[in-house]
Every structure is written in structure tokens, then in C-alpha cells.
Amino acid sequence: MSIRSLLVNSLMVFVLCVIPYGQFNQQAQLQASTDVVIFSDPSLRERYYQLVAELRCPKCQNQNLADSNAPISKDMKAQIYSMLEAQNTDDEIKAYLVSRYSEFILYRPEVNSGTWFLWFAPLCFVLLGALIVWRYAFNKPKASSVSAELTAEQQAQLDKLLEKDSPQ
């Protein structure tokens, strides 16, 4: 067997076994996409799956490109594929698609004036919650410790009440 045919064979085995397995393993949602993509460099494959998982189909309400079979998603996946092969960075690919399909397609939107609230509101709420918990946790005992000390007069009153209530 020549080295060349060995290479072709191992590539076939790779395509038939490794890609579907990797898909199944990495992300259950990728199962829906049936198209097999073959990259010149295996590291591109990972980036491809990352991109199609986090970019949103512009035609569908809530599907990523990996999940969607809409014609537009297929076009976008083909575009991502060819841009990856042309040595574009992930950011360049995203910018290219956003300039055509707007920020709608980003499941992880960039931090800018329109999205800072989206990004930082959860953190603000956590801090607010922590503040409330802290105030409740550390202010309450002080208040009760003040009332825990009884004067002699109060103690006498209490003893009297307990005596009255206890069964004879």
C-alpha cells in the first residue's frame, strides 16, 4: 500500500468516525447538522464548530447555525468554511457576518454602549444581593444582643411570669 493511499484511507476513516463522534461528544445540539466538512487543517474544524455553535441563524428565532437547516444558514456556514480556509481570524469572520446580518447573530454580543447593561446587570444584582444578605446577617445579632441583657427588675418580672405559668 502506498503512503498516498494510506493517507486517503485514514482521512476517510477520520471523516466517517471521528467527526460524527466529536460532534456527538462536544455538543449534543450539533447532532442536527448532517453536513460533513473536511478541513485542510484539523484545528480549523474545532474553530468551525465553535463559530457555528455561537452564531445565530438570522432567519430562525432561536437556533444557532449548527442547528439550522435554513438556506441562509447553509450559505453562512459555507462562508465561514471558506473564510477559515483563507486564514481569517474568528474576529474577522464575525465582523464580516455582523456587517451584513447585524449584531442579532451574535449569541455572545460584544461589550459596547448598547450591551453593557446586558453584560453587567447580573453582576450588579449579585452585588446587590450580597449587600442585602450582609446587612441582614450582621445587623440583626447586634439588635438582639442589646435586648438579651435583662436588668434585675426585668429578671424578677420574668421569674414571676414563669412561676405563674409552670404546672403545679
Binding site: 438570522p58 432567519k59 451584513r100 446580518y101 447585524s102
Partner: protein, 177 residues
Amino acid sequence: MNRLALFAPLAVFLVLSIFLFKGLDRDPTELPSALVGEAFPAFTLPALNDGRLLSEQDLKSRVTLVNVWATWCFACRIEHPMLNQLADQGVAIVGINYKDQDAKAQSWLEQRGNPYQFNIVDAQGSLGFDLGVTGAPETYLVDAQGVIQYRRVGVVDQRVWDDEFKVLYEQLVGKEK
């Protein structure tokens, strides 16, 4: 101070209500347009009937309605009479025949009338991709400088024309003169 704090939950509730109430009216299928205010993307594609090569320069002479259509698109059938009507009123309409077959497109225009000045054949959908087209029909209002001023995803009917296009179109035509 303590009494005011009691109203905090009410304030939170009111703010939340306003947000959610506003959300009721929003159409989730409506996409923000990335290309409004931008120049019409560059392209070189053949014309439907004579095959001569067209480019974005061909859109620049006057205010134009660019309509993305295809024979496989059902809503385009509903839209077509409205386009004929607009063409009769003197609106310049250019078609982008999107991912379609020339023969089918030609017989469609013979049967239903041809409202288009010319048709750009975008068989691969490459111009559509640059425009951010997600399907047909879509309609763009392009001014005389070749800048996209408005985008409508879906059918343009009389109501849509009156509500969304008419004022802007007349403004742009007025500016041109």
C-alpha cells in the same frame, strides 16, 4: 428612611412592568438592519434578459426600490401586483432575482407583468449575502447616491408602502430635484 425602603419592591415591580409591557409590542422576528445608511454593496452580475453586466453604479442615477424576489417564493406572488402598481405610478424598481432560474423568472414576468427597470441575476445568492438577505421578498429603498435608506423584510403591500415607504420615498425624490 425605613418607611421609604418599604416601597423598594414596588419600585422594582414598576420598572420591571414597564420593560415587560414594552416588550409585548415588539416583533421578535424583526431584525435590526446592518446596512441602512451604508452604500449598496459592490457587485458585478448579469442582467436577466440580455445578460449585460450590471454593477452598483447602475443603481445610482435615481431613487430606486430594490426588490429581492424569486419564483419559488410564495409571498412574491402576493407582492407582485403591488410592484406593478408602483411601477405604473413612476417608481423605479430594480429586481434581484435571488437563487432562481432564468427561464422560470422570465416566464413569471411574461405572465404577471414586469414592473422592473432591469433584473439582476443573483443565482448563487452572493449579492443577497452581502445585503444581509435572509429570504425573499425583501425590499430596499436606495437613494440617488446609492445609499440604502430603508429595508423591509417581507411583502410590501399598500399599507406597508403608505406607512413605511411613502414619506421617505417622496422626501428622497424631492431632494434629488
